[in-house]
Symmetry: C2
Subunit: 144 residues, 2 copies
Amino acid sequence: MGTKQQISERITALLKESKLSVTETRVKILELFMKSNGALEHSDIETQTGQSFDRVTVYRTLQTFLDKGIIHKIPTTDTSVRYAVCKSECSEHDHHDHHVHFKCESCGTTTCLDETNIPEISLPKGYAAHNVEVVVSGVCKTCK
Amino acid sequence: MGTKQQISERITALLKESKLSVTETRVKILELFMKSNGALEHSDIETQTGQSFDRVTVYRTLQTFLDKGIIHKIPTTDTSVRYAVCKSECSEHDHHDHHVHFKCESCGTTTCLDETNIPEISLPKGYAAHNVEVVVSGVCKTCK
DNA sequence: TTATTTTTGCAACAGAGTTGCATTTTTATT
DNA sequence: AATAAAAATGCAACTCTGTTGCAAAAATAA
């Protein structure tokens, strides 16, 4: 993780790499993502920053991070949208998650299992795959 | 598929098996699911039935079908919720999709690939899996 | 056919997400 | 360091999605 100072520097660097202005909102939201071990949804961000930002700003910040490939969406079966920070292999124009997402039925947390690879899936004839999303639900390490 | 008459009989039987009243709404919505080769979302149902039902009725009907294991949800990365009819192996209390879902980036249709099985995924120590959802995106048979 | 149960539709509401525009903050320039 | 240009923010107002309570209507049971 590193000290608070180091994290702050990493965030600033990340924003500059993505050609984004370094603003309080963006730094605070990125800090939240880096501190949290799971995926966040819009409402998590509103509560955990203590409502310090306007809803609209949060929506726009998340959209910007998505566009720049800083965060990615995780599929859900409800109307919520969950986001997690991307690992190094993601870029602005070629975005793929090569890992499995795990949703705990007990604590509700969604985590990225970065070590778990997605196996090859053989589709029927005529189908071409670009991206494969895997969401496993069950009971996580901490809730067991 | 069978004739219109046969489909209607199958639907009536299905509803009775699930201990549900046979109503115009339910029959029409189930017909829609059976005719369509892809997954439907709430708005599809509203448009394709020609707004003949109240929004609330459609929401409640979908929830009822879900509860009875007649349809299942498909994960998405947006706020939409997609539904598809279940195959025989699904029951009211033990519901699992054992197949892969395919979302076409060209036509937007989501289909159930009933023949394509979900591979075994080996999770890190301490994680217990109950259900695995796989959504592949790419280009489908008809759009290719 | 009638009584009971279930389903439907309406009204009203709550929440999620979006858009335009003026103000503020950040970055670039001198 | 001061100023100009560009970008981001916050507010108001709006749309779209989904929910709840309740009375009317339809379906099932008797």
